[in-house]
């Protein structure tokens, strides 16, 4: 039995994570679809011989809980029935997967007949069939409508491709060439992982390799526990609401979390969260775990490797049958929303625990917009865009303007590339003034996007939120402004609900405006120079500067009238009569019917 050596451990850890990253890079470079390439909606990793995650490549935080769950399923089905050359495929949310577009490709790695590890990849595919192009409709009410469900199966059996599976896939998806291209990228990543892992085994020998795969996990656990130890002990709860599920319009969905921290252990308990809903925003438990880990990792020091060891120190509970742990036949295609919002809910609870470190609510996580249909030659097109960008204000700085949500560090698609490849024209992509929540540090400024549809007819699907229940502000900071959807803003300007599926015609313009992020701290304490800068940059109107911040600005000389500002601030302070700033500030929900008035 090898003896643990701190130097050998570090060298091994460097090597195994570098292979996991290289697998991620392989997917990045060979992929076809923009979802993978720009949104980096994929992950790679290594599990040990028993399926325990030892190293996850640097990709999507939202996938942090995914590989262990997938591995459990593969072990359940195939332990004892694995051979060199096997490759597993799976996307079933109720048997190890997350939602149908996320296809796992997993390859067991052998050395002289002994299984030592698994190379794992998971990628979001652009379309896996189902009733709506893009396979991410928010208004499906059962999994059976969402697309092709692939139980854990051998895609390759001892190196032989199962053509039946491929044919089934080919006939049930809209863009098989793209799907197969991306599947090849996953296989290439597993191939690279296998090759380099073999070199690692050649260097260390099989016994030492097994030993250090396990050591890397123990090491991450030690680091995580040491870091958790530094946080205060206690219990904190937080509540937030999703507007609705896009099926039962106007019926809010409760998220509720309680964090209990004692010594080097944390429990994240989602008991009290809404029962699962009809609409397709039900999480798998793995996704709820990912949201929980993401929140906690943001208050732990950097450098802790992503693996099983982290998860041992953080227990996540969510009762089955809730929106955070859906059971059959829950629809889950658009569950990204719930993941984002659970992360924000975690931030809320953590802000109660660590007031000087955690941010207020951002724009709510990404809005999903897809437009699909057929061109005049009956060739299908699928355009999928995920976008978000406004961070909640921090106790030490403004919220970020135009920055991805932490849960999914996604990049935007290039407008020009979109226009070259899709029947879409973008008419605007720009910040919107007066929507960021006020505060000593203001919330992030949201942007809008105008999409003009150029084909004859298509199906528009939108999954957005934070229109009724707006992003909360913290410790005196104000909530942000609501998200908005419109059809033909320069014409009929019809206000649309936050989740929708509708037919669009050539020339129609769809506008999405993100919600503004919540502020942090008393707006009257904001540096007037910072208020002036926002006014000058047309991110804040002079009227809002006066009303929210009490700052009087001369817009011809671009100066602050200090005396008038002091006077105005004193009036506001007196009128509101705070004894201390409210910890959390909400805006009363405004249902669509009233907002339209």
């Amino acid at each position: 039995m090898p003896v643990s050596d701190p130097i050998a451990l570090e060298l091994f850890k460097n090597a195994i994570f570098s292979i996991a990253d290289e697998m991620a890079l392989t997917v990045f470079r060979t992929t076809y679809s923009g979802v993978l390439k720009d949104n980096m909606d994929y992950s790679t990793g290594f599990a040990d011989a028993n399926g325990k995650l030892a190293a996850q490549g640097l990709t999507l935080p939202g996938h942090l809980g995914s590989v262990p769950t997938a591995m459990e399923s593969i072990m359940r089905h195939f332990d004892g029935d694995m051979a060199e050359g096997d490759v597993f495929i799976m996307n079933d949310p109720f048997d190890g997967g997350m939602h149908l577009p996320d296809i796992f490709v997993i390859k067991p790695l052998f050395h002289e007949g002994e299984r030592l590890a698994f190379a794992c990849t998971v990628c979001h595919h652009i379309d896996v069939g189902g009733r709506v192009a893009g396979s991410n409709a928010s208004d499906s009410t059962e999994i059976y409508a969402e697309g092709l469900r692939i139980a854990p199966m051998k895609l390759y059996d001892k190196g032989v491709l199962n053509k039946t599976i491929m044919t089934f896939i080919e006939k049930n998806v809209r863009l098989p060439v793209q799907l197969f291209g991306d599947l090849r990228a996953q296989l290439a990543a597993c191939h690279i992982g296998e090759k380099q892992f073999a070199e690692l085994v050649a260097r260390h020998g099989p016994e030492e390799t097994k030993f250090y795969l396990n050591e890397v996990i123990d090491y991450a656990e030690r680091l995580t526990r040491a870091a958790i130890q530094e946080l205060p002990d206690g219990q904190w709860s937080f509540e937030d609401w999703i507007d609705d599920d896009g099926v039962d319009y106007g019926k809010p969905i409760r998220l509720f979390v309680t964090i209990t921290k004692k010594g080097g252990h944390m429990v994240v308990d989602w008991t009290g969260t809404n029962p699962q809903v009809k609409g397709a925003i039900n999480n798998t438990l793995s996704f709820t775990k990912a949201a929980s880990y993401t929140g906690i990792r943001s208050v732990l020091p950097p450098g802790i490797p992503n693996n099983e060891g982290v998860f041992r120190a953080i227990e996540v509970i969510c009762p089955p049958g809730t929106v955070g742990n859906g059971v059959l036949p829950a629809a889950c295609a658009a569950r990204g929303l719930t993941g984002f919002r659970m992360t924000d809910c975690m931030f809320g609870a953590l802000a109660m625990m660590l007031p000087d470190r955690v941010k207020a609510a951002g724009d709510g996580g990404n809005t999903g917009i897809s437009i699909g249909g057929y061109d005049s030659a009956r060739k299908p097109f699928v355009y999928v865009d995920f976008t978000c960008g406004a961070w909640g204000a921090r106790p030490f700085a403004d919220g970020l303007d135009g920055n991805s949500h932490m849960f999914a560090n996604m990049a935007s698609h290039s407008i020009e590339v979109t226009e070259a490849e899709q029947p879409i024209q973008l008419l605007a992509y720009e910040f919107v003034a007066d929507k960021a929540g006020a505060g000593k540090y203001r919330g992030g400024v949201p942007f809008l996007r105008d999409y003009k549809f150029l084909e004859t007819e298509g199906m528009l699907q939108v999954r957005s939120d934070r229109r009724d229940h707006r992003p909360f502000g913290l410790y005196g900071g104000s909530p942000g402004g609501p998200s908005e959807n419109y059809l033909n803003p320069d014409g009929e300007n019809r206000l649309l609900p936050s989740k929708l599926t509708m037919t669009v015609k050539g020339g129609d313009i769809f506008r999405h405006v993100l919600a503004g992020a919540g502020g942090w701290g008393d707006p009257l304490e904001r540096d007037p120079a910072a208020v002036l800068r926002d006014v000058r940059n047309e991110l804040l109107s002079p009227a809002k500067a006066l009303a929210d911040y009490g700052v009087v600005i001369n817009t011809s000389s671009w100066t602050v009238d200090i005396a008038a500002t002091e006077l105005r601030r004193a009036e506001i302070a007196k009128a509101r009569g705070w004894t201390e700033p409210p910890k959390v500030q909400w805006h009363d929900p405004v249902p669509l019917a009233r907002a339209a008035e």
Partner: protein
Amino acid sequence: MTVTYRVGVDIGGTFTDIVLLGSDGTIHTKKISSSVGNYAQAIVDGLSEVFRETGLDGGAIEEIRHGTTVASNAILEHKGARVGLITTKGFRDVLEIRTLRMPKLYDLAWTKPEPLVERYLRRVVDERVDHAGHVDRALDPADAERAVDALLAEKVEAIAICLLNSFANPAHELMLRDIVARKAPHLPLSVSCEVLPEIKEYERTSTTVINAYVMPIVATYLHALRRGLDGAGIPARLLLMQSNGGLTTDTAAAERPMNIIESGPAGGVVGAQALARAKKLEKIITFDMGGTTAKASMVEDGEVARAQEYAVGAGIMIGSRLLTGAGYTLKVPAIDLAEVGAGGGSHVWIDPGGALQAGPESAGAFPGPVCYDKGGEAPTITDANVLLGYINPGHLVGGAVKLNADKARAVFEEKIAKPLGMTVERAAYGAHLIAASNMIRAIKAVSTERGRDPREFSLFAFGGNGPLFAAGMAAALGIARVIVPPSAGLFSSFGLLYADVEHHYARTFRRLLRQADLGEIDRAWTAMAGQANGQLAEEGFTGTSARLKRSAALHYKGQSYELTVPVPDGPIDARMVTHLEEAFGQEHERTYGHRAGPDEPVELVAIQLVGSGLREGSGVPQNVRPSRVEATGEASRRAWFGDKHGWMETPVVSRADLAEAKTGPLIIDEYDTTCVVPPGARAERDSAGNIVITL
């Protein structure tokens, strides 16, 4: 025959290195303090001093080649021009929204880099061109005038123009350009259809803005330098190192300063490339390690690997180049360097999980490593190397710096060895290996991550610490040969002497190869060649001294990442299409391990061309004769080579002693670096003065 000299000048933060290489192989070097605020003066003063010492005069100088950080510093320190940007209505914030990504996961304190043009200086015009170049909404000249007037009223120091889809139809940008030229003829102006006629609005906007941002400061600097040289009686022409590893004239650099931003690290790589060519080595990995960072790059078939875009001031990304979003995006070809935060000053520490770590925090120049005895309390990699006997405590920089080895040992013992429960040698050796493993990630980034097997390469090591680590790293990677060039510690300025003049051109040209109008592609390349030949002729390169190389960026339709393949001479016809498809398929297979079937449509994304101005011969002299004579301090010293070998009495030799091959362990102490040859490896000096280590 009169000896003429090429001069290489590399400006660093502390020192300006000047190297003169005579046509007969004579080398003179000069190291002087950089004159902060007026770098040009240091160059002129340094050259004047060399003239006094050697009796040379300005007439003997054939050419001055210069690597400068003036432009990158302006960006890092936010000291560039007050720029106004004109863009399409509805897209005022493309520059600031960027790509939405951040380079650090889970970081609540992440701060986005400030946009180089603040929002109130970004003006929009009401116009729209579609992706195919069709004008949806014509630009009203009155609207264009208003935008320009507004920026002029704000007293901007430069203007950048970038409209949506202008790569497909530049008419509106050209209208704006002409208005600016008429209203403010001397104002620096950067127009996207001229500087980067390529698709992707964020990358094009960012690049166009960066170009405008550094135009005034670079022009002022180059003007001052030229005036200084003229004043000192040096009429020689001035060439600037570009980020891509080629030289350009001072005039062209002032017009397109975006090309010289990563001028600094390019010299060493180009020098390595030239020496490798002279040795007929087709594949090398360069490894440049200094005090705080280590950089790797790859040269294959004599060509330096280039990246098509990079981020200025992105800092060092440990381990992964997946995490983008830092710094300022510049879509300009640059030598593809992978950089990690590992250097002599990197801290050695034990993390809360009980693993030994090296870096990325660094002791910097002050207080420096413990052994410098300037108050440094944290053990560093240099301390480990002193403890292991690799660095001579009495001989650093020719004995100018004395090191306190006892103190380094005491600190290492207490802070590292004791807590880990091991001997101080084992702990120091472990730190050395961990630093090496961090740097191996940089080497893998430029080799295995591109499907290249490092075992087929030679490792070319330079920088103050490169030759100390190179042989050990090569062994870990299965690389059989290490090359340490002469004056390895000053190699960045040396490398400048071996570069060629180079101009890069690229244009977005999206066409499915099998459906494209081949004549149109042919004409576009011909026009580009005309542009390159014109530029080269202006610089005195005609006939066989002007060389053009075409390449094409291709992908399978639907992919969003391209691979570049060379395009041979000849007309663009059906045969060429077949050739390109096959070449692309092969490159795809080589890089990613798979390729699609022959029916998968291949799309041309951009056409590219490099125009080079060649000198006669390789430029590498037969006999390099440094004027400095190395004095060895001792005959041997004890050095530790891991548990397997333990302490070994290790001969200390000079480069000259290696005329005959010797077997390690060996240490070669030099003025600017230390080279370690591990037990069993063989080292010898070749005719060009390189140390060649065979493992």
